[in-house]
Symmetry: C2
């Protein structure tokens, strides 16, 4: 598995991104439009595009920006949003998703981007790329719009695994710190552990244990541990990285999306109410656009699968060209900084520390 | 314990609400202003007000609406937001919070309203009012602004207990249904169980078990079970009552508050951006006020402690007069409909059904 990361570190410019062209709600045209947008903005990027050749060739041919920078890799099958992950693992060798991950596995590309079925992508990623040495559970790192200078906070796990014990949460902290450092150029990220109250005596037992483990790693891994944080800190400025289990993280993520959606709907209603309010909305249009841009989920598009031999960016299923392009931008940034190698190194040095501190109850870790 | 509920059912108009005047962030003046507002709007309401007599008497004397309708009960001590719940239980007999609950315990009032320390209020409520027969864990029912016709959804548990097993979740469903029926006049409330995906195969083991238990009770308790729902359904229209454990519920609640707060801040920034946008914001003022009214936390002010011998409404710590008045309105509505007796009857009939269906692993239930 190590020749993979050696190869990655040695990749010369351009950085190659492996893209699953199929499986998103908006179809391959949106994906091709998105990577074309990225290619236009960034000369140091190249693509391997996976999917049905007969569909992709005419789409790519139309885009001048992709000329000579996008190789098409034929894959006849498509993973649908309804497919069960286990079925895809058994029967999905001919799918564009499988093929896209294969390019990362064999070292042709550094990062894979897909808009497809999250569960299937996660399972295939874990089985095909394998976990990094020392990682117990991979996690999905997601971005929250916030008032922090970088504009976003990172929360993990966004839903890779519904369970997480204290050691998993400690590793999530390390992975989140690597992500913040490489994705947002934060030298000394601040990490919070999600709980129901900020007092140390509150919350579940595994959270108290995780609190101690994360504290113990803060100095070595060069981050600041702010302690327990609450749901309101997810879009807040208390910290840059918020650590939680995948069940809580997924509920929080969707609650945030739902709340933003409700407010957006109510705002539209409020402005449709009377002729005067419709006039006001015309005048307010640029202000409202400015707001929309800040919280536009397309700008924060890309859950990153962390803890694998290779980086996978899961774009929103309904991503349009701009959404795909955001995901590609994130993938490029992570590839360029050698993010995954640095993450692996962090985890390796923390494992040593953690072997002294923690109890030995891991059953599925460190197999490779 | 039963003479209490007999008394409650027989209470003639006016309905008496027991109010803890101290312990809120805005002090007793805001509480007195709030109950005065309620007294003005509603002739069928009376109050027992608990706190420092020398502080409360002049405040009440100034309010014409409270004349002859507000009895002051002296309590020299105040529970602060920083007090540990266990300490309050040991040493809090002289506090206004304790005294306010005592009026419900001895049958003088039907519902207690407090803006104070949530943890202390919950612990005192459980210990002084005791759980309803058959209830394993009391829960906090909270309101979410939503696009449903009633304007709000009910979520429980909002944070009374960080744990909840399948039987607890089933009882939360029953309590939430009673709340929706009596608080919002919904004849046939729709209930959803919060999970990370809507597919039946997903999520934690206790959620699958709870799914079956809630299903089994739907017909008898006359509600519709819509199955698993996601975080985005909390402010959505899929159901009226959302059931989850207090850890997840509390994180979701604060995430929703935080998201709404972020959007509100960004909206203000967007409108401050340029002279034109400031002009637009003036014209948009009524529209924005209309929006604010819909999502104003003061209108949805009041977590209700469910499953006790008596109803306790926990108003937001920072509630102003309008917030206190909303909490009193909710308390009145629940008292008037005989909510707690109906809830007790529902739980009793469900316990019989549930004894057939579920495994017997309850350790702390049904003590009384």
């Amino acid at each position: 598995m190590t020749e993979n990361s050696d190869h990655t570190t040695a990749t010369p410019v351009p950085i190659v991104i492996s893209v699953d062209a199929m499986g998103g709600d908006q179809g391959p045209a949106a994906v091709v439009a998105g990577i074309s947008l990225s290619a236009h903005k960034n000369p140091d990027i190249g693509f391997i595009l996976h999917g049905q050749k007969e569909v992709l060739e005419p789409l790519v041919a139309k885009r001048r920006d992709l000329k000579g920078r996008c190789e098409i890799r034929h894959a006849p099958d498509v993973v649908s949003m309804e497919d069960k992950p286990a079925n895809v693992l058994r029967n999905g060798r001919e799918t564009s998703m499988w093929s896209a991950l294969e390019s990362v596995r064999n070292g042709e590309a550094t990062v894979c981007v897909s808009c497809g079925n999250t569960g299937a992508l996660m399972l295939l990623s874990v089985m095909r790329l394998r976990k990094l040495p020392g990682i117990y559970r991979p996690a999905i790192g997601v971005l929250w719009p916030s008032q922090n200078p970088q504009g976003f906070n990172i929360m993990l796990d966004g839903g890779a695994d519904i369970r997480a014990d204290a050691k998993d949460l400690m590793q999530y902290a390390l992975m989140g710190v690597s992500y913040a450092r490489n994705g947002f150029d934060l030298a000394h990220p601040r990490v919070g552990l999600l709980n129901v109250g900020t007092e140390e005596h509150k919350g579940r037992a595994e959270l108290k244990e995780a609190y101690d483990l994360i504290s113990a790693n803060a100095r070595l891994a060069d981050f600041e541990f702010v302690g327990f944080v609450e749901g309101r800190d997810l879009p807040g400025t208390t910290c840059d990285v918020i650590v939680t289990d995948g069940f809580t993280g997924n509920v929080a993520l969707k609650t945030g999306e739902g709340t933003a959606g409700l407010i957006s709907d109510l705002l539209k209603e409020a402005f449709r109410y009377s002729p005067l309010s419709r006039l006001a909305s015309l005048l307010a249009l640029t202000s409202l656009r400015r707001l929309k841009k800040r919280i536009d989920p397309r700008r924060a598009n890309g859950g990153v699968f962390l803890g694998l031999n290779g980086t996978v960016v899961k774009s929103h299923g309904s991503a349009d060209a701009m959404g795909v392009s955001s995901a590609v931008k994130l993938a490029f940034q992570l590839a360029q900084t050698g993010f995954n190698e640095k993450l692996a190194a962090r985890v390796a040095s923390a494992s040593m520390l953690e072997q002294d501190a923690a109890t030995e109850d891991s059953s599925d870790g460190e197999k490779e």
